[in-house]
Assembly symmetry: C2
Homo-oligomer: 101 residues x 2
DNA sequence: CCTCCTTGCAACCGTTGAGTTGCACATCAC
DNA sequence: GTGATGTGCAACTCAACGGTTGCAAGGAGG
């Protein structure tokens, strides 16, 4: 389990989440294509894709002069893992508290 | 289901996550107490707690001159809900793709 | 070769965010 | 009342972030 920081940071931006959802539902696309679909410049998209890539949320595959980006939703398991971990500690504490009453 | 933006934004900061974990595992505490346990000023903690409060991750309860903050891990269900939603769309797309081959 | 399209890199700007310090105010204990 | 402690508000600094424009480079196709 790696550092979840890049993952949470990546998901914090709404444009990035939209980008990730777009790739998950509509399938792979290049940066230029995505820039045409969204109201932001191509360079902005590229930066977001770089962040998503670093977070492991996206996969880049170069094909000729284009770079196709595809979603890797399996990376989201790290998020749920974190939630599970905190949630379990919470329940654990509640049980200890209950036992002492 | 409200806007998940404050929630994701709140979880994006490592100090805030640590704060939330602390409250989940060790139980409620005041801002001053938390400031003594962590290497940040009391005001910084207060700001983080305000963000967590706005995100619904934390509950404030005034008692005399102190303000006790306690974790509300149920708010994390919104995160898992988002993950589930995106994940299901992903699987859906995969099935359609599979059927066309 | 020439052209079009996609990408990458760099510089720049405005805003946000995390953190600090300082001060005023309220509350508890003595 | 006095002093110590907890909180809140405001101003400030500094770095990071989202977004833009401009330009050079490199494949694809005529």
């Amino acid at each position: 389990m790696t550092d979840p920081q890049p993952l949470f940071a990546a998901l914090a931006d709404p444009t990035r989440r939209a980008l990730f959802e777009r790739l998950s539902t509509e399938g792979p696309a290049s940066a230029s294509r995505l820039a045409r679909e969204m109201p932001v410049s191509r360079q902005a998209i590229a930066k977001h894709l770089a962040a998503l890539d670093e977070a492991g949320l996206v996969e880049r595959r170069t094909a000729g002069r284009e770079v196709q980006y595809s979603a890797r939703p399996t990376a989201l398991t790290d998020v749920t893992a974190w939630v599970e971990r905190v949630g379990s500690k919470w329940e654990e504490r509640l049980q200890k508290l209950e036992r002492n009453l």
